[in-house]
Amino acid sequence: MRVPLSWLREYVDLPAGTTARDLASRLTLAGLEVETVDELGADLTGPIVYGRVLEIEELTGFKKPIRYCKVDVGQANGTGEPQNIVCGARNFSEGDLVVVSLPGAELPGGFRIGSRKTYGKMSEGMICSASELGLWDDHSGIIVLPEGFGEVGEDAIGPLGLREDVLDIAVTPDRGYALSIRGVARDTAALYGTAFRDPADVEVAAPAGEGHPAETDPELCGRYVLRGATGFDPDAPSPLWMKRRLHQCGVRSVSLAVDVTNYVMLELGQPLHAWDRTALQGALSVRAAAPGEKLETLDHVQRSLDPDDIVIADDSGPVNIAGVMGGATTEISLTTTEVLVEAAHFDAMHIARASRRHQLSSESSRRFERGVDSAVQLAAATRAVELLAELGGASVEPGYTHVVHPAERTEIVVEESHAGSVAGVDYPEGTARTWLEAIGCEVEAEGTALRVTPPTWRPDLTDPNDLAEEVIRFEGYENIPSIRPRASGRGLTAGQRLRRAVGRALAAAGHNEVLSYPFVGERDLDGLQLAAGDARRNSLRLANPLRDEEPLLRTTLLPGLFKALARNVGRGFSDVSLFETGLVYRPRPGGGRAPLLPVDRGPSAEELARIDAALPEQPRHVAAVLAGGFERAGWWGPGREATWADAVQAAREVALTAGVELEVEADAHAPWHPGRCAALYARVDGERVLVGHAGELHPRTVKAFGLPERSAAMEVDLDRIERARTPATAPEVSTYPVATQDVALVVDASVPVGEISAALAEGAGELLESVRLFDVYTGDQVGEGRKSVAFTLRFRAGDRTLTAEEAGAARDAAVAAAAERTGASMRA
């Protein structure tokens, strides 16, 4: 809402010396956020005076006709002689009263006026147009003022209102009343403690005779006023002050009749509609649209109406979508002489829905959906027809239509001290009453409580806390004290600590965290080489995605990481390892629709369960992608490329942070290289649970996402790892010496080391402290299709020094187990 200060001052007396910035700051603190203060004409300097055109000499021989004028500017030029001014406009005649800027003046935008030679003549100033003066946009010529507007030679800056401060207020959805000069003036008066003159105090005589016939549906329209103005002069121009204010408020001037409806709307907050009465056929009715009804609106769009739309209909059918937009055939035209003005109070929710349905947000619908005064309609319509009479020569019809279905005005009973206990401030007695009355409430005391009836223009005031906000904002939000709260929480949960620790561990291991968007497309899933039935293809779809090619929600973190990797590579960083921790979204089978529960009571456990059953599973995953050198080459020697093994290690890093050992098994799982893919398992309550995969990426995936060759990745379900976590128990730390035994085994090349080492560990028994692979060899010495794997076994007892025989026996048992399970034999 744009508020010119001079307009505001018509209804409230601001203390002397109050600047627009003072006012802006006070309104902002009180909840009417002033986004900008436009100081129109602040850079403008005189002399700008009234002048009378004495003579016009038409100059020819130029590309366009030019006039050389003698203009009387009285004594304003210091000589009393007429000014000679060259002018390109043609919309004026000798004897017209015009606005002249004399040499030395500066117009808006830093446009300096001087004497200069042009079109072969000396031009000593300029005859101004509305655009040049910053009044409104008009390129049809200069301003010709009505006779009597001012005296020749007098200063025109003040009377024309060339300097004006305009506040631009961002009105919150609850404060519909502030979409009017009236509403802002009322709050301003309360803030400054000065008198408020209500522009809606319009004297309205009782109707003398019938108005235009109308009937209304009380559910849709609580108050309906029709007033006629007859004999209107369609050629009557809008007065300068009206055009100027409309322009300052951001409304385009159209014609006097339309301008009047807009002006009254800005002033009172009541949207008005004006018809050409002769285009209407018979009585009007305010009703719901019938199925299949259509209407061509003012913007010449044919619209199908919804039975939820409120329409105004005459005998021919709908003529308006109520509160949203009028119809094309009944609108005021440039020849209209019979004007019918409508002021109505339509149901806010209907207007809000209609506005969205038809994607029509108008000045009218914005006000209706935020709530307009339910009692101002007659005053508004009367103000409008009186302006049509005053400015357009019309006669106000004495009869009018006023259909009222009185709205119930609900009383709010609230403790006098309520606002203070909400704010944490001890307000003096009477504070609440003072402010509530200032905004128009009727207040009655009842013991320690107040019975408060909010005014008709404040439909937002329904609850005790609404009233508290009014009191506190006028007392000053800035005066609320600051007291530090104290709670007795138990710190982070184990899961929250784990997530932080995982992030730190991965960062310390050389991975960089990214936070990518969760939006993916079919193309990404194809790029991952997911089979048709892969669970990760079962994804949620957005009804309104930002990009049509990414309508799905991620079921895996990998596509986002791949894109971030490609971006880094594209920027010249090819040795990169990235990780991300975040939720993925996996629809539950038969998820269905999440129910809307009631809000007048808390939900039951069963209702909450129904909601949660509809929501997708949203496990927290951790994933990483590695490319290029994981260790760099340098003066110390060669570097080392990231491989599948680093990806597996990154997953282990995550699990080990939680104290969980992963079991690794070969797998063929997209998007990994089928020969270089590890399935990762953990034990949850004794059960083996798949927690993720790691390895080198499939070459087709690498190609699809434009990644460096041999990029590797891992993705694990952090929630499952968290569940696999068991409290650590302290080991017995033996101080007896260790007995170390190395064994070299020859096995078939296809036997995974993981299996051999598991077999060794199991066979070695309780004396085993650790088993560690230290070499893998393939080649002539072991033969085709075979490999040699070498392990160090460390044995130790808690109560004695092991003998060579004991250690040897344990080693032999380990080797026997490996032989039995994996066909391993001791290397010769």
Binding site: L29, G424, I483, E513, L542, A564, L615, G634
Partner: protein, 372 residues
Amino acid sequence: MSAPNNSFDPVEVTPLHPDEVARMREEALAAVEAARDLAELKEVRLAHASDRSPLALANREIGALPPAAKAEAGKRVGGARRDVGQALKERQAVLEAERDERVLVEERVDVTLPWDRAPRGARHPLTTVAERMADVFVGMGFEIAEGPEVEAEWFNFDALNFQPDHPARTMQDTFFVEGPDGGDSGMVLRTHTSPVQIRALVSRELPVYVVAPGKTFRTDELDATHSPVFHQLEGLVVDKGITMAHLRGAIDAFVETFFGEGLRTRFRASYFPFTEPSAEVDMQCFVCRGASVGDPEAPCRTCSSEGWIEIGGCGVVNPRVLTAAGVDPQVYSGWAFGLGIERTLMFAHGVRDMHDMVEGDIRFTSAFGSEN
């Protein structure tokens, strides 16, 4: 070896003559002192302290002395040998120290050589800033609450007092999730962290003191100051006797922790469906502290010379929200706030463009390390 000394005259056994012993001692000590390195000292040791050294040989002659003279001669030779041993030991220590000194100098390396063999990674600054923000409140005894990102509309809107057709609901620029049949799913990507308020209230014992950092979603195109995915820190307190003064105290704690002691905050009346009264929170500009207001000579880029920086919204939990969450508003009251994590990062660390936070460029992340 000399023949038995029957005359009992020690002087007759030349090597044991006091002068001779003194000479051998002096000679040995001089040789020790003259040794310039450990190798020479080794030679000296062989010459003057070994079994074949003059003093050792002289010592053997003691047996040839008459018993009465043995003690005195033994004392003399023993003393000389001890002195020589001691001198050797001392010289050894000196020469070893000299050698060590020299070797260590020779082993000098260029410690400015780079060692970026395995570069460290980094955590995303939004993650760490979110943790630090949460920890301000954890330090006051709050716990961290959580909720899903794909959320039921009821949690995201209805329970938070967004009326079905109220403009506030459409102002949120919501991502709607499509139902299985292409229809309405009743689910959205949460537009704010406020649904966690309801989740906390329906799942926790009262009183509730929680913060909820998390991801939120709105249909804004990515530009320098907007992102369709962003992060908020929600705060919620529901207890008996709670006022806006505690709310202000909590927010002040955050501001002071992140931006400096003594910075003022101010509340401005505003509107959110789930709080009443509602307020926007500004903090005093931490760069100019308001000095740039009305001073065109010293404009402030951080606050655009406004003197204040908007950091979030807050208010008293609307009693209708308590009702919808099954909490009796006659008994309990509370407040809630929402702070922007991106905004905090931008101001606290001078991040100028939202793109930097979403693109995953390692140059950006690396600058923050893992605990910033």
